[in-house]
């Protein structure tokens, strides 16, 4: 990555640029999920997201709407059953207000399964033709890119090389004027002072301290820290040890502040995303029920591309934004090369320096941004997971989220 890469992106009406041009089908209750999945089945560039319950949760709606207005999304079809709380028509309205073509249908009004699927496929075909024809193509570079990263299935190599290689790439991204988001405040436990020292401002320091203290209270309350059996089996002994490895993925640049799920960073640079439920309803919902939830959070912050660092190996992908999977464990890469995009373990075996690996990862990210499918993408992975929880989302105008 000696020369800063550029590629051709998709310009959205709000000025943001996407690296994909997809139609997003959104279902508003589990009862509509079969129809929504069938509408997207066999269609190119049509992804599905949705949530399970006949339940109005502000957090989940904010998350869904941030995905409906995501830079990789060109058009939206909202699919409801017809009697649930969440309103498909309102989701389509919000997408239209953002300048995107959007439609909605209610299954109970349209007919049964087959009729609704046929109607949905007609709508999706029309929307796809429209965005294919009308979306302006524009030059794009690292300064236009937001990349999110989390780690999952970590082992002893993740903190040694997997996360540090991503951290070195994040430094390059931030220096080029781009935006980097990392997650998992529950994986900063034990490192309060180290985190606070990296705050870019007094305001950011205050946000980090509040988010850290909340995460500790949360883990104490639910009696579960963010370490899994596979982490322990892979050689990590304590949450503090996992945290030190996890934080390495943030690189070394100052932290601009804390955003919550569904919020975009108000300016470029390095940001932390807080996905922990707020105190007033802390026991409702979960912070990190699985890796897919974390990736959806990062995508909701506007990440056009996401990274998962996994020492143990993983076979997930993600809807809306392509996932690039990095492992620091060359054994895992060899065993699961059909799923793993990048072998950072070569740094441990002396084949590459950390800087060379970060440059190579940067080239892979640029080529994925330019349209080359990542491995999970090519395999057809489009996982999504929308959690219900309670989080307030103050204005982002001051870059202030307490």
């Amino acid at each position: 990555m000696t020369n800063l890469p550029t590629w051709s992106g998709y310009l959205r009406p709000d000025g943001r640029k996407g690296i994909r041009n997809i139609v997003l089908v959104i279902y508003t209750v589990e009862c509509a999920s079969h129809v929504a999945q069938a509408i997207a089945q066999g269609e190119n560039d049509v992804h599905v997201i949705g949530f399970p319950g006949c339940y109005d949760n502000q957090y989940a709606i904010r998350l869904i709407l941030s995905l409906a207005r995501h830079p990789n999304v060109g058009a939206v079809l909202a699919v409801g059953l017809g009697c649930e709380y969440t309103q498909a028509a309102k989701i389509a309205d919000v997408a239209r207000q953002s300048g995107r073509p959007a439609e909605w249908l209610l299954i109970q009004d349209t007919g049964g399964t087959r009729t609704s699927i046929e109607r949905g496929k007609q709508i999706v075909t029309t929307l796809r033709r429209q965005i294919f024809r009308e979306t302006p193509r524009v030059p794009m570079g690292l300064a236009d890119l937001t990349v999110g990263c989390e780690c999952g299935g970590s082992d002893g190599t993740s903190g040694l090389v997997g996360n540090p290689v991503v951290g070195a790439f994040f430094d390059r991204l931030v220096d080029a004027g781009g935006t980097a988001i990392f997650e998992e405040i529950v994986e900063m436990i034990g490192l309060k002072e180290i985190m606070l020292e990296r705050a870019a401002s007094a305001n950011a320091r205050e946000q980090l301290e509040a988010a850290y203290d909340k995460a500790v209270r949360y883990c104490q309350q639910v009696r579960q820290y963010s370490v899994s059996p596979g982490n322990f089996a892979g050689g990590l002994t304590t949450i503090e040890e996992k945290s030190m490895g996890a934080i390495a993925k943030s690189g070394s640049r100052p932290i601009q502040g804390v955003i919550k799920v569904g919020q975009q960073p108000p300016w470029p640079g390095l940001w932390v995303m807080d996905s922990v439920p707020d105190d007033h309803f802390m026991m409702f919902g979960y912070t990190n029920p699985n890796d897919t939830e974390g990736l959806m959070d990062l995508i909701s912050g506007g990440s056009q591309l996401v990274l998962l660092v996994t020492g143990r190996g993983s076979v997930i992908g993600s809807a809306v934004a392509p996932l690039v999977k990095v492992t620091g464990n060359s054994q895992t890469f060899a065993r699961m090369s059909e799923d793993m995009d990048f072998d950072a373990g070569r740094v441990l075996s002396g084949l590459l320096t950390l800087d060379q690996a970060a440059d190579e990862l940067g080239d892979l990210i640029a080529s994925t941004a330019a349209g080359t499918p990542s491995k999970p993408e090519a395999l057809g992975h489009r996982e999504y997971f929308v959690m219900y929880k309670h989080q307030d989302a103050p204005s982002t105008e001051q870059g202030c989220r307490k």
Binding site: G156, L160, I194, V227, P229, F232, G235, T237, M244
Partner: protein, 107 residues
Amino acid sequence: MTASCFKIHPKDNVATLLDDAPPGIVTTRGSDDSVILTEAIALGHKVALCDIAADGPIIKFGVPIGTASQTIQRGDWVHLHNCRSNFDARSATLDLHSGTTTDMRYD
């Protein structure tokens, strides 16, 4: 080929195994030191680089990542059986090899 381990920070009293290693000598990447493993240690797991007293800090990345729950000898495997978290009390109850919980009922 002799297995090797990696000491991240000069202050560390543990190193991470870069290979699955049987008992015996392993070299330390980035220095002339070596350490004799008292038991087999798997890739990604930690070996004690010096004797560590009970209740002494386990140092990795240059920071305390836990506390010795018993006396640890140089060359020992450092894991759930002899190192406890300063935050997460439950981790000391996990199965040493699989990391699975022992307090969840499946009946």
